[in-house]
Symmetry: C2
């Protein structure tokens, strides 16, 4: 159990960390700081929040584990702000969707007096905000932890244990490799769903009323928050571009097969996709 | 109520037509023909099947309404085969995903003694086969009917009423327009999901074990039957190619915005997709 857990900027993920930690007794005292005063006032009324701090510095002062749950572009600025207030040996992690720069600079900012270990639970939703937080959000979900060679083994173990206690399945991967993986399995599907919807928006919008479950499922994540995704794509631009170019070649090859009426090639591509999809673990 | 309903080649859709018609008392007697003798033997044991015929001709001889539920490339051959055996005034429809050629040639094959009215219920699934049929499959789902100017109004009314009795929401559109619509809202998402999976299959397949709900939902329909989709794409090749080219331009524009770090454009495209997706009717 983490004696004192601090969560900065709880949205869907940070709120779910707090609720899961309370329900699963993974933390003793839970301290929260949110940027807006009205959010702080609302959080003070939640059973999973023991203390609301007025500043990030005050929030982390007694913390054993700090989870920075802000959008990715605020993680490093917040880390720099709280660094002088951290106790010796405190561990800081985050929930950001891109890890290369954050893992490297996070380690540099804290040095060895306190420890930064990057995390990324694969448990987003098109819904946002702590109001939608759920104590079961991390159950059987992959939680990436992304240590560097220089990462303190004790800090890595603490973060790994924490996600396991919240129900997650921990995968430890190098930060650059993490960014390549999520560019393919998370950021690429997002760009695709958003692009499909943006394209269909230029057609007759009434067509969506005819749609079956296929279009509905394929586009669900297009309902996600644009500003949140801008910050993720900013951080992982290079890997997402590489993934998009690879997928573009695949789609182009499908189109060429259709143009040439090469039905064997069309069938083979659908069959290859089916084989891959059928191999998904049952949820 | 249809006194005698005949269903040829029941798979997921045809089986669901039979089960829904029985449960909702939309048909009196239900006669079925399937191509394989072992399927006919199994169907004879189902409560929603009153008679199994040995040939398509025998199956339709006493029918008031015939539903051809075969893959799209078998619909016209079957229609030609049964045409001489139909009673005067009998109505024939189908459940094929492409309608242009089928509606036109179907009308030509039957002339005016019996009547062909093309249908397409938007109620597929990645699951196939009559074993997965469900009496609720058409509830609140769009069922396209695609009359020609020359279509008999009584036959059109009979087919429209039938889908309504099965729980569907009927949309009557011109066959060519139907093909344009489904190319965008059904066939394009299928090509996209299949291409994404075929692309990811060429990466480390273990990555799929890390995936959250986003990739799972986005790719669900990639599990669909490749042969079935080949026949659909054969029939609707031109419209699907046009839709693919339109979407390709949209994805390329997204890629260009990422390349140029034009974050305003990236955010605007995601926001436009979100606005469209948020307008989906609640299921």
């Amino acid at each position: 159990m983490v004696p004192t857990l601090t969560i900065l900027c709880p949205g869907l993920l940070g709120g779910s960390v707090a609720r899961a930690a309370r329900e699963r007794k993974a933390a003793g005292r839970i301290v929260i700081w949110a940027r807006r005063p009205e959010t702080r006032a609302a959080l003070a009324r939640q059973s999973w929040c023991d203390t609301v701090a007025e500043t990030p510095e005050a929030a982390v002062a007694g913390a054993d584990l700090v989870v920075i749950a802000s959008p990715v572009d605020s993680i490093l600025p917040l880390l720099r702000q709280i660094a002088p207030s951290l106790r010796s040996g405190a561990v800081v992690t985050d929930v950001g969707s891109a890890k290369g720069r954050i893992a490297r600079e996070g380690h540099e900012v804290l040095g060895t007096r306190a420890h930064f270990v990057g995390s990324h639970p694969m448990a987003g939703s098109e819904k946002t905000g702590w109001e939608n937080a759920s104590p079961g959000l991390f159950e059987r979900r992959t939680c990436f932890v992304t240590p560097l060679p220089a990462t303190d083994p004790g800090a890595l173990a603490a973060v790994t244990d924490f996600w396991r206690q919240l129900g997650g399945t921990v995968a430890s991967v190098e930060p650059g490799r993490h960014d390549e993986i999520v560019a393919h399995i998370s950021h690429l599907p997002q760009v695709l769903a958003s692009s499909l919807c943006a394209f269909l928006a230029g057609k007759d919008p009434a067509w969506r009323n005819y749609a079956g479950g296929g279009l509905r499922d394929t586009t669900r994540i297009a309902g996600s928050d644009p500003e949140l995704w801008r910050t993720i794509l900013e951080q992982n631009r290079d890997e997402v571009l590489r993934a998009l170019q690879g997928l573009g070649a695949e789609i182009k090859a499908f189109e060429t097969a259709l143009e040439r009426r090469d039905w064997a090639a069309v069938t083979a591509r659908i069959a290859e996709g089916k084989k891959y999809r059928d191999g998904f673990p049952t949820p």
